[in-house]
Symmetry: C2
Subunit: 203 residues, 2 copies
């Protein structure tokens, strides 16, 4: 009667996390379109309607999976920060690299996270995880913030827009044929062209 044994009971033990794990796997190997309630249920060896008791519909499951995505994104950025030392510039380019690496390695997840098919306000976990990622970005941008101008948050939105746009454009195939000139541009060339606060001391 061990709760984690293989007894084919109705109760799964931790079906919620099992469904999320199944969804993560499907997302990674079969893409966003294959992420369906029924596929997750089948993959977790439960009936097709089981997910409804743990998530309110498909958007609910998507939100829970996206929350894991933001968690992973945060990890990617934090890992870069750890090996970046104290230089604000290195730290900034570090989280950008982490952001782009995450998008590149998990295109379907990245697509899901910003697909606006679910409501961030309805899932407190998703809200917390995305806020955490935003926090890493915000902290790293803080040294470059222009104080007292009433434009707080400007630097982080500048950086976020830049990496996010770059990641999106790379994932879409709207850059023309592969090996088009636009494809060869590297993100590393962007940061030196930003007038960040610390630049004035360096220059």
């Amino acid at each position: 009667m061990a709760p984690n044994s293989k007894n084919k009971t109705h109760h799964h033990g931790d079906l919620r996390n099992a469904l999320i794990a199944a969804g993560l796997d499907i997302l990674k190997h079969k893409g966003l379109a294959a992420l369906t309630l029924r596929a997750c249920a089948t993959s977790a060896n439960v009936s097709h309607a089981a997910p409804a008791h743990h998530f309110q519909g498909l958007p609910g499951l998507q939100a829970a999976i996206a929350a894991r995505g933001f968690q992973e994104l945060t990890d990617h950025m934090r890992r870069e920060l750890d090996s970046a030392g104290d230089d604000p510039h290195l730290r900034l380019s570090g989280i950008c690299e982490g952001y782009l690496e995450f998008a590149n390695q998990n295109p379907a997840m990245f697509q899901l996270m910003f697909s606006s098919t679910f409501d961030f306000q309805l899932d407190s976990d998703l809200l917390a995880r995305s806020a955490e990622a935003y926090g890493v970005l915000s902290d790293t941008c803080a040294p470059f913030e222009i104080p007292g101008t009433g434009k707080e948050g400007g630097t982080e939105m500048l950086i976020w827009s830049l990496v996010h746009g770059f990641a999106n454009l790379k994932l879409s195939d709207c850059l023309g044929p592969k090996d088009a000139p636009a494809t060869r541009v590297a993100f590393a060339d962007f940061l030196p062209r930003l007038q960040l606060r610390a630049d004035r001391k360096d220059a």
Copy 2:
């Protein structure tokens, strides 16, 4: 027997464009999720399977509609250019405003255009229309290009990433609760923080 009269014949005359028009209307008023083959067919007063003969499946119809989107986007940017005069800075901020205005006014279309649910390479019209939009961007960025560095296209990708990312983040609701600090940031504050070529003469 006038071909454009209301005779309920099998032949529609210009069903292809009628389906695209129906799709544009659905996209604008009911959102991306409501854009289905069957809905377009019903809206055009034809049977549910009629679209298959003019588009190869849903991705084909989406591609045709997205092509119209790129056309409109080009128009938005060109209109701003016409009223911007000769100053490269004004022209650049003009197309950015046009880009953001388009995304704001047509959120579902913008979402569709970059949703990667269809293949740009498979629709020559879509390819041409998106290339045209890219051309406007590229031309406007040309005065700021750094020559002879082997980094051609860097400026346009910098600008495109920035506007595209900003538009995407605004459309997602992942910026936290409305009236969060990140929501109050205006794009106009970004351009002065870019080290563009002409800046050095001004400064």
